[in-house]
Symmetry: C2
Subunit: 752 residues, 2 copies
């Protein structure tokens, strides 16, 4: 754990300029607007260690990395979200001295992410000048990034600033192999009021489209403007005089247009030019205020208030802020990358995290259309899922572990075709959407193609074990990635059975034309029923130090391991992924994230209280939570089991995972999809939110150190406000018709 | 299966010039002399598909390929045997027409590997000239390669040949990532009688030494000699007039010297120059005859004669020829690469194949010093083995899966730290050497460090399973590489137990100073005994179509698979590694090579006849033999079980694996270490050779289609000749004192 930012309800502020924490600072101060985003790197020259990164949604490159000796079914490339042109770049001199905070004598340094307004502010004083820099990526004009500088003299003297403002297209991914560059320059130009550069991803042999990106910069303020360009960079140069007293402002606006939206280079360039001209009429205040207002609207709908624990309060807001910065449901072609726009690790745009963790949040805080758009994204990529299954020689649809376009783009076979449990989570999202919104139309329409082809995959992926008279699933990795290639992973088997069962139950309701398209035979459906009836689900009685328990077994041979609880191991081995060899980790009983318990997180009502308690008590002491996705699941289950202390401990870890750098890896980027976990831990955990038989249930408790919490919830054309304090729980209907809900096991009627 | 070469007892000849089979032809016509070797590519320009490859023993490069997301304990690089300078290169014009057999109108083409003499001959006629090219890599002067050309007119006309003979240092490995070149030029020169080029492997960040290689060419014959050099190539140009009648000869000699033998560039260059000058005094006949005589000596000791089956005869000779071309025990720093000098696949120089398959052959056909040198190689690399174990967080020594210097240099984690059964085979080789030669001194000395540190590794690698009260080994891959990350692989567990037991039994005999160095405690030895006593070895009764069998189970959940015998599957799925996804292969019951049976191959006397028969009958129908190492093991076991037909079928596959391209992968290079299998199948299989209690046992039978076979055998200062024909078995003592052996279960005394 490492906390370099101050605890404040609405801001994330640091006065620390420690070069060792630079990457951590950059990750945490990231900004984004779904269309694009960037790490919180400094604009001006910084000669210390830094990871400069600007990423654009849906712009990617298939890196040809091959793993070892390529075998049939291995994916061909690793799809990477690629570092795009650096359009915030600046080289600033004060009276001839280069500003470089790694070298200068800096005073009054402060960097602050203002989550209420959605801007990153930075102030510092060097060479007698105080800088105030405000950066935003507009939530109103998606193509716009704005950097506003305010200069003042700190020593009562006049100063001359020489300002080179650039767009640098000579960028490289940190994770590039052999430092390969993914970009080539198409065009660049210095025009009267703006300059631009056009780049395109290099050619590839995989049929992945090449993306064109054009960035154009324009300015307000400064004097003696002249423009230059080199092979891979355009620069606008200004002189700015800082008076003895008072302020001087300077503003840079960048417009980014891509071939994702316009089909020719000429259109991409032209659109950027027109947009630049249009926004030239707007003042900085116009741009700032419109952006701030949109963030206010978002918070109005989604804010979670916590009283009595500022760290918890800051955590949940930070998580929602970064989640919304990554995805807000505006572009149906986009999804929620696990690092968003904050780093390069994990490569792809879309993981099962979306369906497992993000959809349940968006269902609660936004219009159902946002979730439907995320579901439709999977329908749109069904061809890719057919392709992935076929690559493994299997029928039906296999949704990828990582993708941009539906085709698997992760390059480790042990992930690609072993972590197939992800496929069931797509079906779970369909169930979740249908159950929470009450809208069965998607399931009956496009959703049927998704659901029944996933079921078809499972029916082909199981095998029949004659000596057990059971259907089994061999060769998988469950959610616990600290094991590999196991047989009969309880979670995987249980979910596969559930998918087949859910499919069979709802078959009657799907539209006739979808049935025709699916062409499911009676034999096929009968086979599905047989698999449901004979699916092998390992369970056992185990002796533990806390007594005998009846558990579901994580996989066939899990109980043969040395089952020493992690608490009895030396502290210095943790995190084990940084201290142990992969061999030792795989053989150990230590669980990266919930696995058997994950089914109980998805379907709390499908298991008895005793089942949940026994399994929680058995598995949690073996769980190291080194996946960012783990603590929230355990918090919710602990809440369900009235284990309040454990629930709060796990909440804190989920809520402040990145702010406190729990897993010592936030310098690589934020755990965006895990940011959903703190909301889920409060709403599904502390407040016990469930939807059963079309009715909303709430069963809130108040964590010990908190004096109050409150959140709003979207439920079927209603918006509710739930608040919980020492007096009890209150639910108010903010909008919608009168509604009956179950609060603390009693029906109450909400009227506006 | 694809046979492009004719069946002849002593030659491998093709008159086929099919461009599609070019790589296959090149692999099969490879030459080598342990020091260096090459594929059978044409010298002159060939514009069709070809894999030009020349390799030098012990010269390698650590390729920085990283696999996916690097985790602790992964190897840092992939060690590659690298394609060295192309010193046979020629560009030949006849009357101004370029010779290029991919384009020319060629008649009378023939390529022939003469195994008796150890040369590659090629003849063809183009543009009115008949070429006869003879290539050898000298077994007498290891640094020498010789290419001899004989030209004659085929149309009764005079012809002018323009001959550019080069050493080209601009070579690249086919398996290079991003086409990275591993060589840089240090120097080159055209001197009066010879020209040279000096190259060095590029720098690396892994501390692996850079190798310098200097090749120098000199010539006999030709006119108007002039020399040229470009940046990466030296060329000597000649004119040769082909008369209307009669022959004209032209000879190129190449001397290759490396920094492995000389420590400065000056010495490397100078030594090559001197050696070139020395051999200039020798005629071509001198060089050819000395080389041929050495091959005659080798065959004198090692030839296996088979009468009645020319294909079988050719197979065994081809195998011994290629095996001896790769390794003949001259340089203790070298080992037996699985592809020798015939290709790039598999990268490293040293696999467990050496101890598993090659040592048993060398023990039978050569002086014990050759085997001792191979054992000493492992002692010399003990530090690397300590390093490998430490990388996994384990005690003792872990010999690598692939290496040049003792450090693991394979880059797939699932091989590096799962296929650890290899470690036991090093111990098995110590046992084998000691048992067959009767020499216990190596075991008592250096060998003790190897053996007991391997035992130490196993004692740390097992874990105790409380609920079973057994020691187990999780997370391994057995010899069957068509499974991955299994638990309690019978072979691995059995061998680990054997290593510990063998170590305990022989502890009293090891030298005191070795005991001091090992510093084994009484507790440690007691723990080893406990592991021996409680090692888990899975066994079960199974029902099969051929009856109930009691078997040792390949690993914990093997019997839960769908156990359909491979014969009942469609033929077009084979080889499965070219038709199925890796996922399907891993989940299938199909075995790449002997696994459980492998223990019975190593220790035929440690299992009952019933055990061997039940396991053979159970596993063989599931075995696809897609490892080149599999058929011979099954042949030997089938012989042991009097299943003669199966034994012969498997022998044929072992003996002609490459000649008949059984696995459709010989174009990548020959399966050098598997070439031992045919000798083992004859000697240990058909002839039933065993050494029990210091006595040699033989129990020969004659395969049905054969009329006779005979081989010589080295046994403890004796050389025996065993011959088997329709009359029975005869053993003659060729050299040594009188000896009692067991022939067909009866003691006989051999006198010279």
């Amino acid at each position: 754990m490492k906390r370099i930012f101050e605890v404040n309800p609405w801001t994330v502020t640091s006065r620390d300029l420690n070069p060792k924490d630079k990457r951590l600072q950059e990750s945490i101060t990231s900004l984004g607007n779904e269309y694009m985003g960037m790490r919180g790197m400094f604009e001006e020259v910084y000669s210390g260690d830094t990871h400069q990164g600007i990423y654009i949604g849906g712009v990617w490159f298939p890196d040809k990395t091959r793993v070892g000796w390529w075998k049939n079914g291995y994916p061909l490339y690793f799809g990477k979200a690629i570092n795009a042109l650096n359009y915030v770049k600046a080289d600033i001199h004060v009276d001839g001295n280069q500003v470089d905070l790694a070298k200068n004598d800096v005073t009054d340094f402060e960097i602050s992410l203002d989550m209420k307004v959605g801007v990153l502010k930075r102030t510092f004083t060097v060479f007698g000048v105080t800088f105030k820099i405000t950066r935003l990526v507009s939530t109103v004009i998606k193509e716009l990034a704005d950097i506003h500088y305010e200069f003042s003299s700190s020593d009562g003297q006049k100063h001359q600033i020489h300002f080179d403002a650039s767009i640098d297209a000579d960028v490289v991914n940190e994770d590039s192999n052999y430092d390969e560059k993914f970009w080539q320059i198409l065009d660049a130009g210095n025009e009267v009021d703006s300059s631009f550069i056009a780049t395109q991803t290099i050619a590839n042999t995989f049929g992945v489209p090449q993306f064109t990106v054009v960035a154009r910069q324009s300015f307000f303020g400064g004097e003696n403007h002249h423009m230059t360009r080199s092979e891979k960079e355009v620069t606008d140069t200004f002189d700015i005089e800082v008076p003895k007293q008072g302020l001087v402002n300077f503003e840079k606006r960048v417009i980014v247009i891509t071939s994702r939206d316009y089909d020719t280079l000429a259109k991409v360039i032209d659109t950027g030019k027109k947009l630049t001209e249009n926004i030239a009429k707007k003042s900085y205040a116009d741009i700032y205020n419109a952006h701030a207002q949109e963030w206010a609207n978002r918070w109005e709908k989604a804010d979670v208030q916590i009283e009595g624990d500022d760290a918890a309060q800051q955590g949940i807001r930070f998580n929602l802020f970064q989640l919304f910065s990554t995805y807000y449901g505006n572009d149906p072609r986009l999804n929620i990358g696990p690092k968003g726009f904050t780093g390069e690790k994990y490569g792809g745009a879309t993981y099962w995290d979306t369906e497992a963790f993000a959809i349940p949040v968006y269902l609660g805080v936004s219009d159902p259309s946002v979730t439907r758009s995320l579901l439709q994204y999977r329908f749109d990529q069904l061809d890719g899922a057919f392709h992935n299954a076929k690559e493994q020689g299997l029928k039906g649809a296999l949704y990828p572990m990582v993708t941009f376009d539906g085709i698997e783009s992760h390059n480790e076979w042990e992930i690609t075709f072993e972590e197939i449990h992800r496929n069931s989570t797509i079906a779970y999202a369909i169930y979740n959407y249908t159950n929470i919104t009450g809208d069965h139309s998607w399931l009956a329409g496009d959703g049927a193609q998704v659901l029944y082809n996933i079921a078809r995959f499972w029916a082909d992926r199981v095998h029949y074990s004659a000596r057990n008279d059971k259907y089994m699933i061999h060769g998988v990795t469950g959610p616990n990635e600290y094991e590999n290639n196991v047989n009969n992973n309880f979670y995987t088997n249980w979910m596969a059975k559930w998918v087949l069962q859910y499919s069979l139950v709802h078959y009657a309701e799907i539209n006739d034309n979808e049935k025709v398209k699916l062409a499911l035979t009676t034999d096929e459906l009968a086979k599905w029923q047989e698999i449901v009836d004979k699916m092998y689900l390992p369970e056992a009685d185990v002796e533990t130090k806390t007594g005998k328990k009846h558990i579901f077994v994580q996989h066939d041979t899990f109980l043969d391991k040395d089952l020493t609880p992690i608490a009895e191991m030396p502290q210095d081995i943790r995190p084990i992924n940084q201290n142990w060899s992969w061999d030792r980790i795989l053989r150990s009983p230590y669980i990266k994230q919930s696995d058997t318990l994950h089914a109980m997180f998805y379907f709390p009502d499908a298991f008895t209280e005793a089942e949940k308690r026994h399994n929680f008590e058995f598995y949690e002491p073996l769980t190291v939570h080194e996946s960012s996705l783990s603590p929230s699941v355990h918090s919710i289950l602990a809440s369900d089991l009235q284990m309040e202390e454990k629930a709060v401990e796990m909440y804190e870890r989920a809520a402040r995972l990145d702010l406190d750098n729990y897993n010592n890896d936030t310098s690589d980027g934020l755990h965006i999809t895990a940011m959903t976990g703190s909301w889920l831990a409060i709403v599904q955990g502390f407040a016990g939110m469930r939807v059963r038989d079309d009715k909303l249930h709430l069963k809130p408790f108040l964590p010990k150190n908190w004096t109050k919490y409150a959140f709003r919830l979207v439920f079927r054309n209603h918006v509710l406000e739930v608040s919980v304090d020492g007096q009890g729980s209150h639910v108010d209907l903010i909008s919608g018709e009168p509604l009956v809900i179950d609060l603390l096991d009693q029906d109450i009627t909400l009227i506006k």
